[in-house]
């Protein structure tokens, strides 16, 4: 079961290593991790995507809570939520494929953010599934580089994670 866990963490040296260390130490899996300070510079916000059965996910949230520097934890998948991931894809784009890349990017509402004679870099934002689908749609076109930010997530409506 895939889960997205949001964490508010004291923005202090070493705090992130405790979170990452916890996952390694207890054999939990991290599929992606994003982290940056919030509007309050004393806090960082993490979004972690992980997989595990219900008991494991419950343990993950409890163990995260136990870390002294963790202020709040929310399993976003327990309710309605929005997830977004940003991807930059550098694709070979010459002759026939040049139009094809452009068209595919348009369909996915991607933007071409860098252009050379034979390459496009496409920027795409959306849920991870959409990004996967775009890569699939590029099919036999030559992908030179894929950079994904990992998932950022937020609860819908009144679900707010703040201090």
């Amino acid at each position: 079961m895939r889960r997205i866990i949001a964490v508010l963490l004291e923005n202090e040296a070493g705090a992130l290593s405790r979170v990452v260390g916890l996952f390694a130490q207890r054999n939990y899996n991290i599929e992606s991790l994003t982290v940056a300070p919030t509007e309050d510079q004393t806090l960082s916000r993490l979004t972690i995507t992980t997989r595990g059965d219900a008991r494991t996910v419950e343990q993950i949230t409890k163990q995260l809570h136990k870390l002294v520097e963790v202020v709040k934890v929310m399993d976003l998948c327990e309710g309605a939520h929005i997830e977004r991931e940003l991807m930059l894809v550098k694709v070979k784009a010459c002759d026939a494929t040049r139009q094809e890349v452009k068209r595919t990017a348009d369909i996915f509402r991607g933007q071409i953010v860098d252009v050379t004679e034979d390459k496009y870099t496409v920027q795409l934002v959306g849920p991870s599934e959409k990004l996967d689908a775009f890569i699939k749609a590029l099919g036999n076109m030559t992908i030179l580089e894929v950079v994904r930010s990992g998932v950022s997530g937020v609860g819908r409506g009144d679900r707010v994670l703040s201090v």
Binding site: E10, G14, S17, Q25, V68, V70, V163
Partner: protein
Amino acid sequence: MAEMLSGGDMLIRALQDEGVEYIFGYPGGAALHIYDAIFRQQKVEHILVRHEQAATHMADGFARATGRTGVVLVTSGPGATNAITGIATAYMDSIPMVIISGQVESDLIGTDAFQETDMVGVSRPVVKHSFMVKKTADIPAVIKKAFHIASTGRPGPVVVDVPKNTTDPTVFAEYVYPTSVKMRSYNPAQRGNGRQIRKAVDALLNAQRPVIYAGGGVIQANASEILRKLVRSLRCPVTNTLMALGAYPATDELCLGMLGMHGTYEANMVMHETDLILAVGARFDDRVTNNPKKFAQDAQIIHIDVDPASISKIIDVDIPIVGNAKLVLEDMSRAIDSALLELSEEVRASQVERMNKWWLQINQWRGEHGLNHALQADAAKSILPQLAIQTLYKVTNGEAYVTSDVGQHQMFAAQYYHFDEPRRWINSGGLGTMGFGLPAAMGVQMAFPEKHVACVTGEGSFMMNMQELSTCLQYGLPIKIINLNNQALGMIKQWQDMQYGGRHSQSSYSDSLPDFKTLVEAFGHVGFKVTSAQDLEPTMQRAFSPEFKNKLVFVDVWVDPNEHVYPMAIKGGSMRDMILSRSTSAEES
């Protein structure tokens, strides 16, 4: 105006203000400014060990016996890494401890400087929390927080890493020791949820075959008194974990003894057959539950724990109660008292009847396969290790503080020394650290100079920290060491007998053991060697007599090298599945 102090002086002053009596430690380059500050004051006494691991175990023993936070001071690099085993030991058993480690100067961090180790990184998986001091002025607040975190909620070790420049004697900062701590991200649980408590009381009063499974948390929370009251009002059987011996008095008729891998037959049978478990401050450790899939199939489970992560970690719990064990049990006991008053005569009578029936069954189990606590000395046979513990119990009137190492002797001590009070039994339960016993006993003796402190050990464990005999002489610690000498790593040998066809791979060193009597005498102590059962009691009597009131006495008891610990859980089975003796052990035939 606030006082101006150097970082080293601040650190020691903060410890004074925290009420610290003893620091257990060992000096080194990065800690020398701190050591100079120790030299220039009288309030905090430093105990100089011979190896940093022993400093952590001493502080640990002190903490377990007193309930106060143990304090350790080591230097950077090897000083810090040597402390890790002791920190991990304290972490696994939730013992409050503050470890101050010297660190190389801030500018040198990350340069592979002499005696540099990333202590915060190395210790991270085995601490409750850690700090690195950034600047001198931060020291009082960091120390205050360290003690607060170590001693509240589920206690544990906290590391404070102190770069040498922050303790520079020529750099001064304002010293004000904070009176309180406020951390938005750390708010340990206190009272339990009232509705959950009512549900639990209801379940307890309606159970047919209830049992209380008491863990180390009962001792940590100083909840023994209230546990006793609650147990007696229900006449409910109680089993203590290895960490909780003494939480409920062993000699009380409602006590089933220890449960688990080497628990009593009756305790494990009760755990298997029960329909309601009230777990208090226990964590369903694998050495308790055996196969979790076969654990107490018919039981509803109530679990009181200050750490929510311990609840439903291994076994799904029906009624979780997060809170301090003492506060929750107090609320629960009040609720039980008033519920009992409200019961009609008839309902009350049927409840008493149910418990009578349950006790009839329990006493039958006890009669069939309970431990024999009336072993007789037989001069014609080799000394049974169980007899040695029984004798120790008799000679000390059951009142000694007993520390142990890890192995067969530890299990024999847990089975045969009946602890009636909490904080008297001190052992490394979670991590299972050999070498723990002697330094832990030293910490206990520092805390209680007038009490009998016995260290039950084996020659294997003892040799892991025996350098501390020198520390014992320096501080005049009259510990009595009972060495159950079976000339081998007994528990390893037992497993090899039972699971590896008797192939004793690397578990014996019988031809190269030291003469312990001579060894301890060389360290300035008193040694006895006992090889005959009839000498056991007189020698122990003498060891604990006023003659050696101020002396460390080492009693080297040569026990039967072939004895096994029973009962023993059958791997993969339920709690009911136990091997009870050699003759019932199929693997050994």
